[in-house]
Symmetry: C2
Subunit: 577 residues, 2 copies
């Protein structure tokens, strides 16, 4: 109990009383500070000092893969990275790239440079994995580069451990016409295409002999999805139009219209209501139309059709549309899921140690997977049995306290539940179950124990698909790999509940450091842990400093900052290249 | 004679004795300093103050078109620009863009920004002209932007004066396979494709299970054409490989090969022999293979086939090829030439005032046209007649001197001839024709006059297809347009030889300020007027300062300089985007 109370108090103190900046500069940072832990039921670690190094194959060079790569000790493993992109992209700045506030090359770092900096012998192959064969521990890849590679460009790679970090794809929810007519915003190429397309719309609308109606259609920019990406893009586009393009296209500047279409009741629903309200009001002042409660059902080359509960089906002409409604699983991952018996799931599932369920030696991190947290109620009898050391059939407070630390590590929802109910420790929980009684004399039977923990599983939530989560997972997994041998003999994890002994590592635990929503006009909103909200111009400057500090190298940091300065001085470029 | 002597002496003094830098900073500058002149046989200028402004339509936003645009007085004309590119590109830096020494956006300036800076009401349309109708004074355009413009995207524009400045296209000399398999280097997009392609070759060669032969093929970079562009690209690529890529691709760095294939006997033949020799020796030291005397006859997806007088036909495998052998005429210009009776020519011909021959009110500047200089010998009888004021049948020295200034302006080859023979004036010329006699007593009959001038036409040369020429032509033509009305009444040009009176303007006269050839490794060569040669590291710094000073705006200047600095500090980016 002491541990739990300390942890909760400490955490809440940190969130509420520390200066803001020290919290913010570690947003997205992957260093979790405390001991990280890892559990593996099989003892398949290195057998001897002289054996060849085990092969770790990493798929993907996004946040998860690159952070893993930066932290893995390549003297212990033979590491290979496979990705269709030979660079890491700082994706949180992608919306800025769409309008030229930041140049695409300023936010990318060649993966070979990352490898070089480590001074490590790590192999990189620019290729795409299209099939995983977990039975034979092989992955099948093909290279998309050029057409004149001899043969089909296919090759096979063996692995001992596989780390899947391929990210996700945009989810169209099978809406007809989206693939053909909408832009996505997941890759550098997407951002470049959007930039070109925005300029094309302006040039097209400027052509002679066009009716005003036709001009208006070309200058109607539609963003489908009111999440952080869509909202940031709409804000960037509005800035681009009002600060730069209106001077260069004076004849048509009043015909520009930006719309954000959101199926839910509000935009930015994952943020605090105050931020949502501020964003909606700011967009209204800026003339950005926010259509909430509208679901897009069809997209043609010139019309977007949407449905609304009261208005029915509405079609609006548009010039360019960006689709940003959520993420889906990549096809080859779906195939892999069928192979390993996860065919009825929508996303690849891992356990709390990021191991793919029902598949040995395969790990999945980042947007391509979700952690399925074991429920307390599934294990409640086993927990009771482990805690009940004297086999009395009842638990004393001391017995519960003895096991509570392990329980909180193994089932983080217990801690979240205590926090959400503003309980200080186990005593409060028992109070709820048993009424107000003397602490020392409590004895709980299994039914009372179940009652006390009945609601904790409501706190189990999926992690958001953010860079912050992916980076923390990559870092966690690399550290587990680095001390796998040591931890085999010195397990650090919590008590095993269903089996005997301890887990090798602690399970992965996500630390949320806050999230930004830039809203244009040099204003941003930030939501930080502890319900701390910051909105306005100062938050935008905070955003600048955090995003500059979080760059992956000094090179990209210098480039991004110089891009921002350049934009301040010269504005954004409007050339169609 | 005084004029000619002064001009020649002055010019030669300036070229030989002035400090180098003051000469260099005006390289490519379009301000010619002296009075520019323009001639037009028809008096079709503005009829009255109240009449609507005449429409000047400019095709193209390259060096010629943009310089014209910057200098035209838009209060006098209704100016419209039509180009498929909505920006001006500083093309001399294109080879730097191919390897990321400079970013593409750093060398482009949106044409609307140029217009905005003038504060002028000039219209720009992003479209491509596909047909000129000189009879009805109309041009037919179509827009390539997007596919969902209503109709075909075609429109027609009327003009009173048409300025063709569309540049040239790469010339494949109908070599089979070039269009399909080779890169060109004329546009920003070309440079971007080459950059991506270089990186693709490296990533392809790094793939596992490739034979060394296959790796070598992928890493064989071929440049066809040993002109300044091809040589500069080869040098840039060599720097990119040796300074940046060799660190990131250590396993394959020794397999890289760069070849320059040139049909002639040497590379950089338009430069002084000392520069050619230096370049060839430097390339040999750098390991760049220079194959002179080889003519490429066929290109397939993996082989380049070339012919050599002694070796016969040779085929070499390659990974990437850049074709840079010269320029050709655009198809719609060829059609236009047929319409106006120039069908048997290869390039659009203009007179010395940049008017398209056999076509009223149409001008052509830059790489899309050549000036056909009238020969002295064609007009020799008429010249004699004009000079022989007293109709004596013979010319005295005074009579020749009286007309010499006009002759030198109308036929610049006379001046070039005197200079090439190191003659100080007309006396020397006559000496050649008549022997050493007392100057005052000379009298020349028509045959002796013909004999004296018999060889001057050998000095007629086509201007090179450079940015320098195009910019000077654009500037010259804009100034002519600006004072067309004044010059109608106050002709400034030389005496008409076949008709009476004077020409309205002086003909266009090109001033050569020198040319650079960057050779890689921070070394460059420069050839300046007066046979002044500069080679080495200091020349590279000169190159930096000249190219920085010649940027079209402060914005691009700042960007280009910061790109250079960035390259010095961080190296070039190798991401495949």
């Amino acid at each position: 109990m002491r541990f739990a109370a300390f942890f909760l108090d400490g955490a809440s103190r940190a969130f509420n009383h520390r200066p803001t900046f020290s919290k913010l500069v570690v947003v997205l940072a992957a260093s979790s500070g405390g001991l990280v832990a890892y559990a593996d039921s099989k003892s398949d670690a290195e057998s001897s000092q002289n054996a060849p190094k085990k092969k770790v194959v990493v798929l993907g060079t996004g946040w998860a893969g690159t952070t893993f790569l930066k932290n893995i000790d390549s003297s212990l493993y033979d590491v290979q990275i496979i990705s269709p992109r030979n660079y890491f992209a700082f994706t949180p700045l992608l919306p800025s790239v769409t309008c030229g506030t930041v140049e695409p090359r300023s936010i990318v770092e060649p993966i070979r440079r990352v490898v070089n900096k480590k001074g490590a012998d790590i192999k990189f192959w620019e290729a795409e994995c299209f099939k995983i064969d977990p039975t034979n521990k092989k992955i099948h890849c093909h290279s998309d580069i050029g057409t004149n590679l001899d043969g089909t460009g296919e090759f096979v790679v063996d692995y001992d451990y596989l780390v899947i970090a391929v990210g996700a794809r945009s989810n169209t929810f099978n809406t007809p016409g989206v693939e053909e007519h909408c832009h996505f915003l997941k890759e550098i190429e997407d951002a470049q295409k959007i930039r070109r397309s925005v300029m094309d719309c302006f040039e097209r609308a400027s052509l002679p002999y066009l009716s005003e109606e036709e001009q208006k259609r070309n200058l109607h920019f539609v963003v489908v999805g009111g999440g952080p990406t869509g909202v940031e893009f709409a804000a960037e586009l509005h800035d681009f139009v009002s600060e730069d393009l209106s001077k260069l296209y004076p004849a048509i500047r009043d015909l520009v219209k930006i719309s954000v279409i959101e199926a839910g009741g509000h935009i930015l629903t994952m943020f605090d209501k105050r931020i949502t309200k501020f964003a909606e009001e700011k967009f209204q002042r800026d003339g950005i139309e926010v259509k909430t409660g509208y679901k897009v059902v069809k997209v043609s080359d010139s019309l977007i059709t949407m449905q609304n509960a009261s208005a029915g089906e509405v079609s609006v002409p548009y010039g360019m549309a960006v689709w940003s409604t959520g993420i889906g699983t990549r096809p080859f991952i779906l195939n892999f899921m069928k192979q390993i018996g996860q065919g009825n799931r929508r996303v690849l599932a891992t356990d709390e140690w990021l191991r793919v369920r029902e598949c040995e030696d395969v790990y999945a991190i980042g947007d391509c997977a979700t952690i399925t947290q074991r429920k307390v109620m599934e294990d409640i009898s086993a927990i009771f049995k482990v805690a009940d050391k004297d086999n009395s059939g009842t638990l004393t407070v001391k017995e519960i306290q003895d096991i509570l630390e392990d329980i909180c590590i193994r089932y983080p929802q217990v801690e979240l539940y205590l926090k959400s109910k503003q309980m200080r420790g186990i005593a409060d929980l028992i109070k709820d179950a048993k009424g107000d009684i003397q602490k020392e004399s409590i004895e709980l039977n299994i039914e009372e124990f179940k009652k006390a923990l009945a609601n904790v599983d409501s706190q189990v939530k999926n992690l958001p698909a953010t860079a912050q989560v992916a980076a923390q997972q990559g870092n966690y997994l690399a550290r587990c790999f680095n001390k796998m041998k040591y931890s085999d003999e010195n397990p650090e994890g919590p008590l095993r509940i269903r089996e005997s002994g301890r887990h090798r590592f602690r399970p992965f635990r996500y630390k949320h450091f806050g999230q930004f929503a830039p809203l244009g006009g040099e204003q941003a909103a930030a939501q930080l842990p502890g319900d701390w909200i910051s909105i306005g111009h100062s938050t935008q400057w905070l955003w600048y400093s955090v995003y500059a500090s979080k760059q992956v190298s000094w090179r990209t940091r210098a480039l991004v900052v110089s891009d921002w300065m350049r934009r301040f001085i010269f504005g954004r470029d409007s050339s169609c290249i």
